[in-house]
């Protein structure tokens, strides 16, 4: 898959996934960290919540440009 935006300066992990944090300002970093922490905290809550988390993860995986 060829990126549609310039990512030459963005590093990738072992699996080839982009480190998108390089494209985020500090305030977006901070907000994302809070959100991720909240998601982790409710990881054992209930089926509905987990479904929402699953949907969120699936969308993030598909959020390719």
């Amino acid at each position: 898959m060829t990126p549609r935006i310039a990512v030459d300066d963005v590093s990738t992990d072992f699996h080839g996934a982009l480190d998108v944090r390089a494209m985020e300002p500090a305030d977006v970093h901070a907000a994302t960290d809070v959100y991720d922490a909240a998601l982790r905290a409710m990881s054992s809550v209930d089926v509905v919540t987990m479904e929402v988390a699953r949907l969120r993860n699936a969308l993030e995986q598909q959020c390719h440009l």
Partner: protein, 148 residues
């Protein structure tokens, strides 16, 4: 429709955690939107709401293809948003190219994050019904016209 959860301490804690996550995603959307030029983020979030939760309000943006009120870049953002919501795998080079030509790399990425967050919030709101109306968020994101 509300979730039928027993009023126990654990249920209350669970609800708190869900609200924290919902508010967290709201903050992510707002933070990303603050770095997207003009009213593009607001338009995208509003169109997401119209598509995902059509009963939640008026469809003011549904007629964008023929309405004279939008710049070429706003039209490109609305076209991108609609395809993202309907089938993200259907995003084409042609849909992204006008965004990449008019905005920086980071702005394009952050716009996509706005659309993604707005979609998850709208869908989660349909399921959990504890999110504030997306219309309020659109108002928060709204900025005067004059998009480059």
């Amino acid at each position: 429709m509300a979730l039928d959860i027993e009023d126990t301490t654990m249920a209350a804690e669970q609800r708190t955690l869900r609200i924290e996550a919902a508010l967290g995603l709201r903050e992510v959307q707002l933070a990303c939107a603050a770095h997207v030029p003009g009213r593009l983020a607001g338009l995208a979030a509003q169109r997401v709401r119209e598509l995902v939760d059509p009963d939640s309000g008026r469809h003011e943006l549904a007629g964008w293809p023929t309405a004279p009120d939008f710049t070429p870049l706003e039209r490109a953002v609305l076209a991108f948003t609609e395809q993202f919501v309907m089938d993200v795998n259907g995003i084409t080079d042609e849909l992204v190219a006008p965004l990449a030509a008019a905005m920086t790399r980071d702005e394009v990425y952050l716009l996509a994050r706005v659309v993604q967050a707005a979609e998850v919030r709208a869908r989660a709101g349909l399921v959990l019904r504890h999110e504030p109306a997306l219309a309020d968020i659109v108002a928060e994101l709204g900025t005067p016209a004059g998009v480059r």
